[in-house]
Symmetry: C2
Subunit: 139 residues, 2 copies
Amino acid sequence: MIKAKENQTLTKAEMEIMNYLWDMGEEGGSVRDVLARYPEPVPAYTTTATFLKILTEKGFVTSEKRENEGKTLFYVPAISRDEYRSRIMDEVTHNYFGGSFRSLVSFFIKEEKISPEEMNEIMKMVSSPPAPKGGGHPG
Amino acid sequence: MIKAKENQTLTKAEMEIMNYLWDMGEEGGSVRDVLARYPEPVPAYTTTATFLKILTEKGFVTSEKRENEGKTLFYVPAISRDEYRSRIMDEVTHNYFGGSFRSLVSFFIKEEKISPEEMNEIMKMVSSPPAPKGGGHPG
DNA sequence: GTTAAATTATTAAGTCTTTAGTAATTTTCT
DNA sequence: AGAAAATTACTAAAGACTTAATAATTTAAC
């Protein structure tokens, strides 16, 4: 029974774990795999196990057993990093810019977080992308 | 003794009150003034009073008594909406885009949250602003 | 097969956030 | 002045988030 997760967001501790899982790639990882990525201070094994269980219940990851791996569960993200980024940006745009992405970008320029020159560079990239990896194999 | 508030962020309930105070303008407002802005369900008077006290302790607002207003305290934002927006955007950019504002804007285009056409419009606004209100009276 | 190790499930404690009641104080009304 | 109303201060309780210990279960080692 996969939980609907429409507008859910990750807490700080959950986010850290999701980042490790995303870094791991397609095959995901076990509690130990996640634990191995923490810098000091490394949390307790059971703490990490708890969060992975919570993330599963919330629908952010799926868990699965694997051949010859005993009862060890492997956790795989059920949402991509970009999907989550998108969700967060929608949230931020809604909360601070009345839902207008344009307002957000204008704010960036006004506050000089990005220069018109950089904007132009980005626009150039759009019209002639350098190496669009992944999407749409030709032929 | 005004508290340092460098990287502090507002909780959801605190944020709502700050929004009301920002909407009120320069002179700020009392507990009742804030309370009057809430939609249903309106929280208890003391709940709002508590949050305003917390916001004062955290340094997000200052409180002051006024002439002929008895002991009623008036609360005024100690940080502007744009300053707070800026802080949040720095936070978001750091957390989700490795601190690169450019990455964030590029992401917006990639995810089609904003179109190249809109970007061009924004760029046009920058080079010839329509009515820069507020800053710098001429002459 | 029994013991040790590893893993997951359950439970709980500590902190932060949210909410509001009660107490203390001050102002207003009669 | 005394009662009522308003305001702030203090206290507490419920919920969410974080952390981890203990219990139960399964796997591995001898």
